[in-house]
Symmetry: C2
Subunit: 127 residues, 2 copies
């Protein structure tokens, strides 16, 4: 591992790159925000700020930090794509899909017993 870069690569991590500072081996954000996710990190930084990102990461169990970092990056991307609704827009879209499927399933499930009854009647007629 390079002594200069916490991310272990030849590049500073996304957070240090954003802050234009040297990425030390002790950099706590380097394992979660590699240089390859710089653009995403910028979205997350715009939404939360580096200090809040650091706070979220530190507030959760070390075993869950990777997961938390991923959610931070995705949340930043979503808000960047939809500055008005952010995640709420995605949640609403998914909920309306669920509503559609529930209606469809309800309608189809109403038809099945009808056909099953008919089938029984016919079986009966043939006996």
């Amino acid at each position: 591992m390079s002594k200069e870069f916490g991310s272990g690569s030849s590049q500073a991590c996304a957070s240090c790159k954003h802050q234009r500072k040297k990425c030390e081996e002790t950099c706590e954000l380097a394992p979660f925000f590699p240089a390859s996710r710089y653009r995403e990190f910028q979205n997350a930084h715009k939404l939360f700020g580096v200090s809040n990102i650091q706070k979220i990461i530190n507030s959760v169990d070390p075993s869950q930090r990777k997961e938390a970092a991923e959610s931070i990056l995705i949340e930043g991307n979503i808000r960047s794509n939809d500055p008005v609704h952010g995640c709420l827009g995605v949640v609403r879209n998914l909920k309306s899909q669920i509503e559609y499927y529930e209606k469809e399933l309800g309608a189809v499930n109403q038809q099945l017993p009808f056909f099953r009854d008919k089938e029984k009647q016919h079986q009966h007629q043939l006996e």
Copy 2:
């Protein structure tokens, strides 16, 4: 409207209350974050910070600011409930519900043509 409070009520808006400052009539956040949503605002503040909240509100069209504020409050609540996954947790849950419905609907839709065919056959037999 009270001259002292931008929110138009006898209380400072959630943002001014949080910052322990006087809520002026010119307070830009008062219309979107009433005192009644103080706890939710605290969640949003913890996640984004007042400055970023202000930036999001200002970056969108005035006609969409109420919607943006709502999404900020909800996003704050969701992260407060699930510090690791935030909105991503909700999105994943909804996606797995959709997956379940798609499978169910697929299975039921496979049964319907079978019954319809049977029904046709019986009609034919009775003719």
